[in-house]
Symmetry: C2
Subunit: 148 residues, 2 copies
DNA sequence: AGACTTTTTGAGAACAATTCTCAAAGGAGT
DNA sequence: ACTCCTTTGAGAATTGTTCTCAAAAAGTCT
């Protein structure tokens, strides 16, 4: 059994909930993608495995996966939230290109201690750091220059 | 005339657009609030001044204010985007309490140079840094402890 | 001021993402 | 098999946002 499955099963049991077939399919689909995905995309993946799972169930399962600590909401683009799994895959910075929409990732190692010490100062119990940087990726920067 | 009005007027002129009464009312309302606001809240403020401005116009004006550099989209909570004005008010960190929804702000000064040097490394043209920290504010942390 | 051109507007319809409803099905424990 | 919850699919409902369009307003030129 995959580690994530065990984690989810335990989480559900603690809550008196069940690891059903649809939930398992959604879980596997979420872990089959190694980058960000929207609800729509996740639904299509699940459907490819078994057309029996409904979109409503995907929407219902997502918050459970997040509460279980398996997924995180990663960002929002063109009015769609997107998600990604985070098992052994710590929070990172998202560099989002305004022009082409590309997302580059880098680690948070340098920023994290600063935020942590601020948190201590504010007596804030830190659970999650979301750092998104908006701008222009080098490709788009280049082609923008070429136009001028 | 307020500085923000001048900035907006100039911005509009450059684009061949006009500073109309509804736009001015929306602009003033946005600058009358010194914290985050949702579209809904802004609309209610504007309406209190003059019931003639429609919600559609608020939605239409917001992107102009952002492009003019007067407003920024600050974060998203319970599926609503929220905004804030940024004149002489640089980007900051948002500390968002999961339990009570309170938002504390602090400055980005320590984090900014790190992100800037990363940006340079990636040849990324940095336009905006969004840093949101999710967790528990000290009040909620305290009352949570008291329950146990 | 009047005529002309372009932008802007309000109001409500349209749209898209998300949530809700509810009757039927499924699971776990006995 | 029986009971008690939980879960589900399907579509309806809801909500935030965008679009449409005819009428109004603003700016320009004469």
């Amino acid at each position: 059994m995959q580690e994530y499955e065990k984690i989810f099963r335990d989480f559900l049991k603690r809550r008196g909930l069940k690891l059903t077939e649809p939930r398992k399919l959604i879980l596997d689909a979420a872990f089959s993608v190694h980058h960000h995905f929207t609800v729509e995309q996740l639904f299509r993946l699940v459907k490819a495995e078994s057309s029996l799972v409904s979109l409503a169930t995907v929407y219902r399962t997502l918050p459970l996966l997040i509460e279980a600590g398996l997924l995180q909401q990663s960002m929002r683009s063109s009015s769609r939230d997107s998600f990604e799994h985070i098992l052994g895959h710590p929070r990172h910075i998202h560099w989002i290109c305004e022009t082409c929409g590309a997302v580059i990732e880098s680690d948070l190692d340098e920023v994290k201690p600063i935020v942590e010490s601020d948190a201590e100062r504010f007596k804030f119990e830190l659970r999650e750091i979301k750092l998104n940087v908006i701008g222009l990726c080098w490709k788009c920067k280049q082609s923008e220059n070429n136009l001028q």
